[in-house]
């Protein structure tokens, strides 16, 4: 954003002080008419993260929190990947004795739990925390302290799970921990409790992020960004956040019921006492299937952000893509039963879920076709982000089609719980989410660090990942059809699965190495990459309007949006809205549909209390695997930290 001279707002009335929350006499200096240098000084002083360790721990800047989230989630990806490598070494031949069943069962459980709850969901949400406020043109995410709290809870949940693993008490009941296997009778010790409470940590944190994202998108959009001008990535994060809000409570209920059965002696899932083991599966998959879309929808948003930039045109079928996102969000709640076809459900009911599972392929098909149509205008500019999007198409379409196979009840009965399913969901999750995420990493890395990643290494990385992935996971379809169930720590030689498993293990190793190369490229790019400038790809959305990396206040002046791709429409200078105070953290709040500027609102200042609150909550969760009284004793510190968090600051606004 270059223009200090375009100060007025076009067609849009300046925030009306009479309607606003601040009496005019209490107003400090505003950005109206202020020159660039002093504006920067004011805003930097107001918005920066305080220095020192306490300052860093108090940060509420969405970019700082998001960077921490991204790095933490990436570390968990590495750990989950190491789990996978260990498993693949054990399975590389029949009857290998490297890893026994006790460790192996912990390994695959930790792999699933880490990848789903500590990597996939957090990393897509973290990307949203970083990008959504920038893309909608605001200065911070809504509820920034809640956002910081979410991060601390997530870190403590992840640490809880991995410290348990180091202590040989990691969950060993699979990432969906079916009862009765995870119940009090068949899972003595604390392993299953670790699973149940670890879920609670991560769900609390993702609910916090979801709420903050929804409010940011609804109320903090730059003036003029009416619903039809919201970028597709932001739409994807909005729909995802709603799916989180409706799906996560189901798994929290599941894990809480499990804890109650284990700790308090309820019999919710105990068939001997009138409970029901299948209830667990219904509750879990009512969350579990939307979970897949919580991971996948943000990735579609990334694809929608990358394709138009390299195809050098507007996205084809913008409205269709938005409606597809919403349709997928709704439908994702109507197909959980296809995870349970082998439980012997009534046949008519099962057939209904075949139909609903098939149905969701239609909005997903619409998305695929619209992206392809966007690419048809001529030879696109092939750079690493687009290569990963091509990899996404290649892999995800296979995963989607095997998903159609799994939707068929009779067919599912042969492949359910076999390596065919393992292949399917890795094609969907890695193809559908990790490849777009890698593309997104190359795409937005210059925005986050100010430097480019190496294109040459990027291409090597892509081919290594692409070949390694397919070599590892394609043969799994076959070995599943040949009868190999999932979650076996070994298999007899006479079944003839040895060679193909060796091949799979080699592919898995190659795939793991591609991430080593990626890590090198990240570090190399951050330290030595060429300087990127504000908008290295000549993209059209608002995050590219500010410097790379963005200043603490994101935008010196709040941009005024006139087009879906504002930077393509306003080549000379972006119009801006003015009138915000510069001596206080003030945000422009706009109306939901039309994004008319409505009121000015304070954004929370840095605070150490979210960290303390997270410690209190995390400590309570940890304690609660030992005794239900933890809830009683934990309430006191939680109350104290929340009082500290919400203590009135003496601002005029707070005193009214």
């Amino acid at each position: 954003m270059s223009s200090a001279d375009v100060t007025g707002d076009r067609h849009i009335p300046e925030p009306d002080p009479a309607k606003g929350d601040l009496a005019p006499e209490r107003d400090g200096p505003r950005d109206t008419g202020m020159d660039d240098a002093s504006l920067h000084r004011w805003l930097e002083r107001t918005w920066r993260t305080p220095s020192g360790i306490v300052g860093a721990l108090s940060s509420v800047d969405h970019k700082v929190i998001a960077r921490r989230y991204l790095i933490t989630a990436f570390v968990f990806l590495g750990l989950g990947g190491l789990n996978a490598v260990a498993m693949r070494i054990q399975l590389s031949g029949p009857q290998r004795g490297l890893i026994g069943p006790d460790l192996y069962n912990q390994l695959f459980t930790m792999h699933g739990v880490t990848m789903m709850f500590l990597f996939a969901v957090p990393i897509v949400q973290a990307t949203g925390i970083y990008l959504v406020p920038l893309m909608v043109g605001t200065r911070n995410i809504a509820f920034p302290r809640l956002n910081a709290f979410g991060y601390w809870i997530y870190v403590s949940g992840g640490a809880f799970a991995w410290v348990s693993f180091a202590l040989n008490m990691a969950p060993d009941v699979g990432w969906f921990a079916y009862v009765p296997l995870s119940g009090p009778e068949f899972a003595p010790g604390k392993r299953a409790d670790v699973w149940a409470q670890m879920i609670t940590y991560t769900e609390v944190s993702s609910l916090a992020v979801a709420v903050a994202t929804i409010v940011t998108v609804f109320k903090q959009r730059a003036p003029g960004m009416s619903l039809d001008k919201i970028p597709l990535y932001v739409w994807a994060m909005l729909v995802t956040s709603f799916v989180v809000v409706f799906a996560m409570p189901a798994v929290m209920i599941t894990s809480t019921f499990l804890i109650l059965d284990r700790l308090v002696g309820t019999h919710i899932f105990n068939p001997a006492e009138g409970g029901d083991a299948l209830l667990f599966q219904h509750l879990f998959w009512f969350f579990g299937h939307p979970e897949v879309y919580i991971i996948f929808l943000p990735a579609t948003g990334m694809v929608s952000a990358i394709i138009p930039v390299f195809a050098r045109r507007l996205t084809f079928g913008h409205l269709g893509l938005v409606l597809s996102l919403i349709a997928v969000g709704f439908l994702s709640f109507g197909l959980w039963v296809h995870h349970m076809f082998a439980t012997g459900l009534p046949k008519l009911g099962a057939s209904f879920f075949t139909a609903s599972s098939m149905l969701i392929a239609i909005p997903n098909g619409v998305q695929i076709f619209c992206w392809l149509a966007t690419l048809w205008d001529g030879r696109p500019v092939i750079r690493t982000p687009l290569l990963f999007v091509f990899g996404f198409f290649f892999i995800f379409v296979i995963g989607g089609l095997t998903g159609v196979m799994l939707a068929s009840v009779p067919l599912d009965l042969q492949v359910h719980d076999t390596y065919f399913v393992v292949a399917h969901f890795h094609y969907v999750l890695i193809g559908g989410s990790v490849f777009p995420l890698l593309g997104a990493a190359y795409f937005w890395f210059p925005k986050i660090t100010g430097r480019m990643m190496s294109e040459r290494l990027g291409r090597c990385h892509f081919w290594l990942a692409f070949i390694g992935f397919n070599a590892a996971f394609f043969p799994m379809h076959l070995v599943g059809l040949w009868g190999m169930p999932r979650r076996v720590y070994t298999y007899p030689a006479e079944l003839g699965w040895g060679n193909i498993n060796l091949f799979i293990s080699a592919g898995a190793l190659l795939f793991f190495l591609s991430f080593v190369l990626f890590t090198f490229n990240l570090v190399h790019g951050a330290l030595k990459g060429t300087l990127a400038g504000n908008n290295p790809w000549d993209a059209g959305t608002l995050e590219w309007a500010t410097s790379s990396p963005p200043p603490s206040y994101n935008f010196a002046r709040i941009p005024l949006v006139t087009h879906i791709e504002p930077l393509w429409a306003e080549r000379e200078a972006l119009p801006v809205a003015t009138g915000l105070r510069v001596d206080a953290r003030e945000l422009l709040i706009s109306t939901v549909a039309e994004a008319y500027p409505d009121i000015r609102e304070k954004s929370a200042t840095p605070s150490i209390w979210p960290l303390f609150a997270a410690l209190a909550v995390g400590g309570t969760f940890l304690y609660s695997i030992f005794t239900p009284w933890a809830i009683v004793w934990g309430a006191a510190p939680i109350a104290i930290t929340l009082i500290g968090w919400f203590w009135p600051k003496g601002d005029p606004e707070d005193q009214e």
Binding site: P271, G365, A373, M405, V415, G483, L495
Partner: protein
Amino acid sequence: MTFALCVLLLQGCAGWQSALDPKGPAAGELAWLIWFFTALCAVVWVLVMIALVAPLVMRSRPGDEPLLLDEAAERRKMRVVAFAVGLTAIILIGLTLLSFFANRTLAAIGSEAALTIRVTGHQWWWEVRYEDATPSRILTTANEIHIPAGEPVRLLLTSTDVIHSFWIPSLAGKLDLIPGHMNVLDIKADKPGVYRGQCAEFCGAQHANMGTFIIAEPRPKFDAWLNDQLQPAGAPASGEAKAGADLFLKRPCVMCHRIGGTPAGGTVAPDLTHIASRKTLAAGTLTMSRGNLAAWIADPQGIKPGSHMPVADLNGDELNAIVAYLEGLK
């Protein structure tokens, strides 16, 4: 890679635990369904890939101005996309109907089953009980299920501990064994043969070693087998076996295992009345032999870590005696 995969594919078809090598009507219907879905999905995938690669071979570059769109071209694209969505919908409706009718075919297979077998899942073995109206003709055995070839057989599936899943890929799809629920699976083997399967739902430490076999035999041979199995255990033949029988009753073995015709009446572990007539030990983990019997009794936790079979404190002579006894239980 493609060639290697083809070789592997052909090799796999010969497997005795493969969904692609059907030996019964249910698995046959399912294999046909798998191939049909696979072929159709492959065609769809190839079409999408062609559409994806098409712009890469184009000579033209998109224009410099990303906001400038050719209206006529956009309308053409809209028609193509709408056609593709319509085609997708038709294919999906077709596949839904196909799968519905396949389900009906499967449901009709076992409607006249004369033989009902109750299979109960345990950590980590299968209890097999042949139901009969006459109580003395009810037979309880373990892990290996003999059935008459060419006849439909009804399996009643349940569990007393955790959830397991019964799956013989070459005969039928899998169905879960859930405590508190009873599932019905009808199977039919077209020809005599031995069909392997294993537990498909993760059930704890030894999920990997929970194999089972369906042994399909001609009707007369099956009837003879059933009559043999209904007999109580034979008397020990040698002095060593006699000593083994006494030891069996004095040691912890008797707490869990049943041997028909003796005071051993435990029901929490496999029935050993005719153990030597079975092909494998410990749910498909070891082949039946004197050496394996001894190894299994001496070191169950080494062979199947976590299994519920405890180590019995036996010296070499005692172990030999018990093995000699069990070996005689044909």
